[in-house]
Symmetry: C2
Subunit: 294 residues, 2 copies
């Protein structure tokens, strides 16, 4: 039976480090501040916001919630982003998405209005360039960074390891591949057009799955000794005595029987992402006040 | 014996297509124009420039050579880039590198002064973001695009193929991996920290090597039926009866004996890169004059 890599443990250790950095900033008169922009009252965005507020409290980050009506126009939203972008008291900006449908045609322009140094969840082209080139322009998306936090917490050195990533999205697959490669892993990216995914995954030292397909990672995909990082969040109608619940890509029981270590869903990577968001806000505050805190 | 994939043939077909697009632009009063900025008289830059001028002539692209003294200051160079960046008669800007040593600490800032829509050789962060996200922001580097031209010319469909890339540089390895993945290949990126490169390459359908190490790709790295794209340009002192000459990563004779197809060096990918540069200039002119040519 695989060792469980628990998000709770990773997040606790990370939160403590963030809190101590936030405290050091506050002592110097800098209150690390995240502005969350929400257009409308989407329930899943409200739920995400509550989670972020709670995590902010634990870590000593201040959150300013900017709620705009659901019918906000493009120019109003751009003006709000510009206001927060130039406000020296705001260090990070998070725009909750999906945007209302009338704004979606302008999503690329709207996201890129965020200054990259305040782009704490990789909404801009320049943050993506930073992930790809391995430079500190902006910040990587929170989820792949959360995966790296697991590697750090559990002392999993990627150097020379074969890492197989399932999924090539810009929020998980591609950035996690780049970040694993920056740690000197040999990375293979599998996706929907890959001819034989289990052929690749069985050879891996570490599998990072973000397919978003319930029970897609079965026993046939894994071998003994592997580490499986399950990044997906799927709805499993069969869970909790048929009432349904969230689950990852892994057919958990059969994968956990073979693998050496595995992240559960829930309780795995997803439990760390808002901590990473707060870490980015604190990093942003540190970078933006470099001369004050050096 | 492997089929030779010849850069000359790829370039000829590409040149003809570019020339016809350039001609169509000229008929509409738009002269596709590349500005080459050179600081000083570095012999290898002069040689590259001569090659570009020759290729420009074949394809109907106009080149404006801007030669600045080797001791040019940062502000002067930035002013020149700004001048060309805002000049509607200039569609592409190529800054020859390496820059003189006193400018190298500012290289990132200088390169990023080029507007991405005129960045025909991927010097800017935004062009890199375009390569990574698969969006037409700026242009990819010429060498990996030249590799794609081989796939097009020889009708090599990457969908579902296993492609192994050796090298993770921003000029070849990383972009060629992203571009192959955009064509739905399953890509593995090997590099200096990869534990067992031949293990990976022997499994590939297509090997793209950019290690930059003479004779590093030996018979043990390949198997029958593979396509080998050799992107490296190394100096081989043993070539041409000991007088020396350029060579790729592949120990050519032994690889060509096994592989199904291989690009020679010289005469392979390198013979196509300046054509790609001209294609980018013509594309840039088309994009910048979209309303005029639609």
């Amino acid at each position: 039976m695989a060792k469980l890599l628990l998000g709770k443990d990773v997040a606790e250790a990370l939160n403590a480090r963030i809190a101590s950095r936030a405290e050091a900033l506050v002592k110097k008169g800098i209150t690390p501040t995240l502005a969350i922009i929400r257009c409308g009252e989407d329930p899943s965005q409200l739920s995400y916001e509550r989670g972020a507020l709670k995590r902010a409290e634990t870590t000593g980050v201040t959150v300013r919630t900017e709620v705009l009506p659901g019918e906000t126009g493009k120019e109003e939203l751009l003006a709000k982003i510009k206001e927060l972008g130039t406000d020296p008291m705001v260090h990070g900006i998070l725009l909750l998405r999906p945007l209302p449908s009338h704004l979606r045609p302008f999503e690329h322009e709207i996201c890129n209005a965020v200054p990259p140094e305040k782009d704490v969840d990789c909404m801009t082209d320049l943050s993506n360039a930073g992930v790809y080139t391995g430079s500190p322009i902006g910040f990587p998306p929170c989820t792949p960074q959360a995966v790296m936090e697991f590697f750090d917490y559990y002392h999993i050195d990627l150097k020379g390891k074969d890492v197989v990533v399932i999924g090539r999205s810009l929020v998980v697959g591609r950035p996690v591949a780049m970040m694993a490669m920056a740690r000197h892993a040999t990375v293979t990216i599998c996706h929907t057009r890959t001819a034989d995914v289990p052929f690749h995954t069985r050879q891996a030292d570490i599998i990072i799955t973000s397919a978003g397909v319930l029970n897609s990672l079965t026993a046939g995909y894994v071998r003994e000794g592997q580490i499986v990082i399950d990044v997906a969040i799927n709805w499993d109608p069969a869970k909790k005595e048929g009432k349904g619940g969230i689950a990852g890509d892994a057919a958990f029981d059969e994968v956990a029987e073979k693998a050496e270590a595995v992240t559960p869903v829930p309780g795995g990577v997803g439990a760390v992402t808002t901590s990473v968001l707060m870490e980015h806000v604190v990093s942003a505050a540190e970078r933006q006040n470099g001369e004050l805190i050096d």
